[in-house]
Amino acid sequence: MSRTGLGTVRAIADRIADRMLSASVLERLALAVASTILALLIGAIIVAASGYDAVEFVSALVFGAVGNLSNIAFTLRQSTMLILTGVAVAVAFRAGVFNIGVQGQFVVGGLAGTLAVLVLVPLLPAGVATGVAIMALAALAAIIAGGAYAALPGMMKAYAGANEVITTIMLNFIAAGVVYFLIDAYLKPPGAAAPNTAAFPDYVDLPGVAFGSPSFSVIGLGIALLTVLVVYVLMARTSFGYDLVTSGHQEPAAKYSGVDPKRMIVRTMTISGMVAGLAGAMFAIMILGYYSDPNSFPTFGFDAIAVSLLGANNPLAVVPAGILFGGLDAGGQYIGFTLDVPSELVDGVIGLIVLFVAVPELFRMAGRYTGLGGEHQ
């Protein structure tokens, strides 16, 4: 790019910087990129300081995410889950409701989906069509259960003023404990030691189509993307979505236009939980093929908070953020298997990303200090 071209870019960046008090799309993008890079940098420093090889860590992270076809399949599998749970979080956060309970709603939804499968399989003849019908009903059961489990803290916030951050975290613990108990006491096959339900039959599974991975299906990813689209249209193109966002950010304005903010809180939580419940069915059917102790599950519902925040709680932006985090997750697990660097490190890095996203002012100040408004792009 020519010098004048650079100058123009810089002038534009500066102009944007001037208007930066209300976050622009570009600023959001810059914030997301800068937060991720800074967090990874700190992660690498910590790895080096702990006596591991930082270069090896980063290259293994990248190889684990996109190094070969099966690693890409694993990344996309994690991305599918993170996009679904990320959208669940985004719906709530967009409306100013801090649903930290996506993990619990996901766990409860997955159980409901599993129960639907286990009940329906013996009643219906085996076959592809049956499989599709069972999966659809399982998804429906999961959506209802997830929505109901989220409506509870929604009602507690709306009508009793209970802080939803804390109630949803408590409900996460309760969901994990109760679901474990139900599986261990009633749902595991007689005589089995491990807290797992019976396995689903082969025809209750999403076909792989490509990649040849038993636990990733392109159809699953398609369902996640379709969900994103539905939620986006609901939020950006309907009056309901408008009410939802205004009641979260301009309660008096919403009240004037006749919106009951309390009912909106409950509805927001319910929709958020419905998406989380669908994610639970996806996890049970596409990834596990049975159901198990929720304490052993990946914490998609927590990582989803990072995904949503990184995408500025915009359903569409959740897709690239979800793919990025899917890659981080896959890379982190690969590191856990191959190097002796503990994979928890990546969880810490994700925490750092969330922390930095929460402090846009830090980067604005850094931008001002370096003289360029935009970001260190």
């Binding site: 910590i46 702990s50 006596g51 801090f98 930290i100 507690m156 916030k157 009793a160 003023g161 209970a162 802080n163 951050v165 804390i166 109630t167 975290i169 408590m170 409900l171 613990f173 309760i174 404990g177 109760v178 474990y180 108990f181 261990d184 006491a185 304490n295 927590f302 908070i305 990072a306 925040l309 503990p342 928890e344 490190l345 990546v346 969880d347 810490g348 890095v349 994700i350 925490g351 750092l352 969330v354 922390l355 996203v357 929460a358 402090v359 002012e361 830090l362 100040m365």
Partner: protein, 351 residues
Amino acid sequence: MSVAEGVDRQRRLILGFVGIVLAAILALLVLDLPGSDVVTVGALERAIQAATPIALAAIGGLYAEKSGVFNIGLEGFMIFGALTGAAAAWIISGSGSVSQADLWFGLLAAAVVCGILTIIYAILLVRFEADQIVAGLAVWFIGLGFGPFAATVVWGGVSSPSLPNIDNLTIPVLADVPVLGRLFFDASPLVLATIVLAVVSWVVLFRTRYGFWVQAAGENPEALDTAGVDVNRVRYATVVFSGVMAGIGGAVLSIGLGSGFTGTGVTMVDGRGWIGIVAYLFGNYNPLGAYGASLLFGAMDMLQIQFQTIGIALPASITGLFPYVAVLIVLAAVGYTRVPAAVGEPYDKEE
């Protein structure tokens, strides 16, 4: 006003209820009535122990929120405290047998490390006006990641080997007083220190000039500024205090009363930081109330042992949920806490 009065009445009702339960428990103990095998001195002892880390986090968080900063990162700082306490004691002992002095050093290290971490956190909150909820959650996630990571660096696994804990302190004469002697004067010094801390915190907050500054920073920062007190400096102090308290609370959990650091799942802190937040809300921002609420949650935590002793067989996965259910009930009942007016709002002097 009528809403506030209603809330007040509701709170009095609940506090009254808690009082009645406590009185009933004492009566059972003293008169040795049937049913006293559910509530034993041992049960109270366990409840007070379980309450100690929760109360430490609660009292610190209370100060921060009173001054206008919602420190939602308590859970994360407790994880760092639990890890640092155990790791520092282990390292200073030369990875061998951990002595009492090593344990006290670990406790101190947890306070210092969490203090330093909270200084960074406080700068992000106060100076850089971070979103308090998101940043607080981030601290939890960072703790959940780097806690077990650091444990692996130190011990080669996410949990420490079994470590000793701080010895009981027996105060002569007082230890011989029935019930109370065993509960407070032949117990871990940390238990007694936490009670003393709760009382001192109450006095400082409600009876000293500094306490009034803290309250003013949260209720009416402009007025405090006009009076010539730096609002942000007060807030820095309370947030760092809350981090130090949470850190000590975590260390109490791992090496004060427990037997080392556990880093599996959501780590050994297991929601106690979150419960600490509810404890001070339930205690209506009163350090003594917060201690009382911590006691309630501590008792819930220990209820499973009592159930076992009287032969009610509930699986641990269910009895372990009692504290969380109690939190939900408490929040639904006293949700309408009057939060300090300026909580969550960064204070800019110029404006």
